[in-house]
């Protein structure tokens, strides 16, 4: 086993450092080293979006990034979406609109949708569909899920 590398980074506004092997992906580090298991492993090759996190403001698949690449970066995961006990409007909408069934893809969709609303607070249905095409859901048929994003964006506009 190669020696572990020391990495210093910021996760959900907290400074974090960890040791990892170069071959461990950011996804593995989040889950197996830091036990932030909200980020899910769906396909491990960038085709389902279950491992979506936001890195330096950019939505990425954490399975296609090495843990060592996280040095000096700012990472947002599902665990940081609710702020001091208050659910994010997206989380509220997914709950109230049944925007999920089994829930395995939900954290990935929430982070992807969050990245979208950060960039474009008032997306139309087609823009939402385009942005979320990198996230697979096998339960919902996407209908209630996309409505949840629309409703979250409306509620954020009102607030």
């Amino acid at each position: 086993m190669s020696k572990r590398t020391h990495v210093t980074t910021t996760i959900n506004n907290k400074s974090v450092d960890f040791l990892c092997e170069p071959r461990q992906s950011l996804l593995e580090v989040l889950r197996d080293v830091l036990f932030l298991t909200g980020t899910k492993d769906g396909c491990n090759d960038g085709n389902c979006g279950a491992c979506s996190v936001i890195m330096d403001g950019v939505l990425v698949d954490s399975c296609c990034i090495l843990g060592v690449e996280a040095e000096d970066s700012e990472i947002e995961t599902i665990e940081g979406l609710a702020q001091n006990g208050e659910l994010h409007p997206l989380q509220k909408a997914f709950l109230e609109q049944t925007g999920m069934q089994c829930g395995i893809c939900t954290p990935g969709f929430l982070m992807a949708a969050k990245a979208l609303l950060d960039k474009n607070p008032q997306p139309d249905e087609q823009q939402i569909r385009h942005w979320l095409a990198g996230n697979l859901c096998r339960c919902t048929g996407y209908d209630k899920l996309i409505r949840s994003v629309m409703i979250a964006s409306e509620s954020m506009a009102e607030a």
Binding site: G42, D45, Q101, C102, R129, G141
Partner: protein, 761 residues
């Protein structure tokens, strides 16, 4: 029998849309799925899989793997007890050949498909385990692969099993050919029927192997302790099913195996069977550590339980007035490596919605060198419907009849004898058809060139069978419901709602959870659209027992006979003294001074073969130059008896429809000539994305199911059945070609259009 009467009672809780109890954990990332479970001493397992579709194992050399630093244990088939081929009963809802299950978990002398497990390694981390697995040397003697049902049924086909059990799932069966079992059913006189027909249509159809495509892989953590007790933490549809199979393959007492259910990240039939537990358990026994095995996505596609590719030939005869008089169906379904595929369900659902006086169904369960076929949401039904509903559409158009009028002329109604030999349980099928006909989508004009509209209709049967549940009440008026049916998409809430309805309290006061195999009695897995219906019926029954016991407590407090105590909507009152009342909550407060805790546990079997119907209506646009099909509009009509939680019911209708759309257009296994699966990734096993489908409109119909106290029917599977047929009919309406092969991928649509152009020219 008559159509079901609408239930008189008004519902307080059923039909409302409370927020699911597990929702909060799922939107915050806290929910514990199978991969989220960790133990301090846990190490990681990986599996070596056959690169060949059909081969003898000549030798296995694991020395290099065992020598790799960080490796704690290595197992091969030789480490497992020999298990004889024996049928294990899981009740009416399934017989399992435990010998086949054992061989499928890890190959001994022969590998039967690309991906068949051959050896396992446990190491300190998954990377080391992966490297070690690749150091194992296996010598194979290649055998000719059999990759398609028609090849497998040829007289000169290579024999995959010298012997196999033909009666695993169907009566009466015969070992028909070296690789196939045949089942037959039907009634009337086929010759006479076709003689009466004014029009006869005969067509052939094929479909590829498909996968459930759940986003959560198969992941299990197993600890085999020093007392020969085995604990399994995993996501499964059936904790008892998994327990019994694990015990059966490892030859340990069932009571020594404990299965702890974790959140299920999608299953759709694919997680009702065991794959990893024996290997993980044996690695745990050898290494003295808990062992976690997480399958890679390519392993999930290559080596779990997909659903059958098929060859279907159907011949239908009708009179000028649209009356169906005869049907002859030949259904050949892949069983995969071991006998027992979904052929029977495909057969009974293929024509069940229509009365056909003279009918013969020949079904073939065909062994091929592919993974063992397992249930996928309405197992076997979409493939048969793809054929039959296209022929029905063709007959209606040939006879220049409205496609709904034609179907109504032949509609199966309550009490009609089904081809399986028993009468159709109460359901209002006429109202279904009239509702569709009256819906604006049915009459809306199409707006462009190369657009078309298609319809398909299905009747599917949900399972009932054994379920167990427990209700206990607390002194503060709160109530716990515990069941042993894993929650796949909200059944904890639908149980809580049924308990609250029955007890006459608010759903906020009920907590529902899924216990482990030591907490609650046996239930069949969460399969066959049975859970909200069958387990719900048990909850209703034990709620009545709880109220009976509470009435006795009230009688004690009032110093009267319990016969005089009546309870309605959570209020206990005295027949003889109108002023005497106690609320549910007040009775709970007296719990410990009137005889102690009240806990009722019970098990019950509910009736199976409850019919549920749905119609799908879709508009498509075809690009004639590329063969690309776009879904423009999609409406799902489904009769669910009583929608306990309408959001979840709509979710089932929409999710199932989109799985059906995926199967219709792009999903399918692609094997090369040697039997290697070439598209074992989510990139190339093309499931629908957000951009591939529109919003799915839903119309819920409720004709009550008399076999359930609240009229509930199963609703989880039905809507996956019609999409391929509905889309095929829409494609025909758009560009005039009949698609006879699933998936209806662009190159096939393109070829069909070219063929038509050539024929027209």
């Amino acid at each position: 029998m008559n159509n079901p009467e609408p239930l008189a009672k008004e519902f307080r809780v059923l039909g409302t849309r409370p927020i699911r109890p597990d929702g909060l954990d799922k939107v915050t990332g806290r929910a514990l799925f199978s991969d989220d479970f960790y133990l301090p001493d846990m190490i990681h397992g990986r599996i070596l899989r056959s690169p060949h579709a059909h081969a003898k194992i000549k030798s296995i050399d694991t020395s290099a793997a065992a020598a790799l630093p960080g490796v704690r244990a290595v197992v091969t088939g030789a480490d497992f007890p020999p298990i004889e081929s024996k049928m294990m009963s899981q009740g009416v809802a399934g017989m399992i050949n435990i010998g086949d299950v054992a061989d499928n978990c890890i190959a001994r002398d022969k590998v039967l498909y690309d991906g068949h497990a051959v050896a396992g390694v446990a190491a300190d981390n998954p990377h080391v385990a992966e490297e070690a697995v690749n150091l194992i040397k296996v010598e194979y003697e290649l055998l000719p692969p059999v990759m398609d049902v028609r090849t497998a049924m040829a007289a000169d086909a290579p024999v995959i099993h010298e012997d196999f059990y033909p009666g695993a799932f169907i009566l009466p069966t015969e070992k028909y050919l070296p690789n196939a079992t045949r089942m037959q059913m039907g009634s009337g006189d086929l010759e006479k029927g076709f003689a009466e027909a004014d029009i006869i249509v005969e067509r052939e159809f094929t479909s590829e192997t498909i996968h459930q495509g759940y986003i959560e892989s198969h992941i299990t953590t197993v600890k085999w302790d020093e007392n020969n007790h085995i604990t399994v933490w995993t996501a499964t549809q059936g904790i008892f099913n998994l327990r019994d199979l694990t015990a059966g393959v490892l030859l340990v007492p069932m009571a020594n195996v404990k299965v702890v259910p974790l959140e299920v990240g999608g299953a759709f039939g694919g997680k009702e069977r065991m794959y990893l537990e024996p290997i993980a358990a044996m690695l745990s026994k050898k290494s003295h550590h808990a062992v976690k095995i997480a399958l890679r996505r390519d392993e999930v596609l290559r080596a779990t339980g997909p659903s059958s590719g098929t060859y279907v030939k159907v011949k239908f005869g009708a009179k000028k007035d649209g009356t169906l008089v005869a049907a002859d169906l030949h259904l050949a379904y892949e069983a995969g490596a071991y006998a027992g595929g979904p052929i029977f369900l495909g057969a009974i659902s293929s024509t069940s919605r229509y009365n056909i006086p003279n009918i013969q169904i020949n079904g073939f369960d065909v062994i091929v060198n592919k993974p063992t076929m397992r249930p996928y949401r309405a197992p076997g039904a979409p493939q048969a419907l793809f054929a039959v509903e296209q022929v029905i559409d063709e007959l209606a158009r040939e006879l220049e009849m409205d496609i709904i009028d034609f179907r109504m002329k032949n509609l199966t109604k309550t009490g009609d004898l089904l081809v399986a030999g028993f009468p159709c349980a109460p359901i209002d099928t006429v109202n279904m058809m009239e509702t569709v006909k009256a819906h604006p989508h049915y009459t809306a004009p199409l707006t462009g060139e190369n657009q078309g509209r298609g319809l398909a209709y299905t009747m599917w049967f949900n399972l009932g069978e054994a379920s167990s549940a427990q209700i206990s009440i607390n002194p503060d008026g709160s109530v716990q419901v515990t069941t042993s049916c894993p929650d796949m998409s909200g059944t904890r809430m639908t149980f809580a709602m049924q308990a609250a309805e029955a007890l006459g309290i608010d759903v906020e006061h009920v907590t529902a959870s899924v216990g482990d195999t030591e907490a609650v009695g046996f239930s069949l897995p969460t399969v066959g659209s049975r859970t909200t219906y069958a387990t719900g019926a048990v909850i209703y029954d034990i709620a009545q027992e709880v109220l009976g016991e509470m009435s006795a407590r009230v009688a004690l407090l009032w110093e009267t006979d319990s016969e005089l105590v009546i309870v309605d909507k959570g209020v206990f009152s005295n027949k003889e003294d109108a002023n005497l009342t106690m609320s549910f909550h007040e009775v709970c407060e007296k719990l410990h001074e009137t005889g102690g805790p009240i806990t009722v546990h019970n098990s019950k079997s509910s009736q199976s073969f409850i019919p549920g119907t749905c119609v799908h209506l879709t508009d498509v646009e075809v690009d004639p130059e590329t063969g690309k099909v776009d879904i423009l509009r999609y409406t799902v009509f489904q009769d669910v008896g009583k929608a306990v939680h309408p959001d979840y019911v709509e979710g089932q209708m929409q999710g199932a429809a989109v799985q059906g759309i995926g199967m219709a257009l792009n999903e399918g296994y692609f094997y090369d000539a040697e039997g290697h699966l070439k598209n074992a990734s989510l990139l190339d096993y093309r499931m629908p994305t957000t951009l591939d489908i529109p919003m799915i409109e839903t119309v819920i119909l409720e004709s009550p199911n008399p076999a359930h106290p609240y009229g509930v029917r199963g609703c989880g599977e039905h809507s996956i059945i019609p999409p391929p047929a509905a889309i095929a009919n829409a494609i025909h309406d758009a560009v005039g070609v009949r698609m006879n092969s699933m998936p209806m991928a662009p190159h096939k649509v393109c070829a069909a259009i070219k063929q038509k152009q050539a024929a027209d020219a």
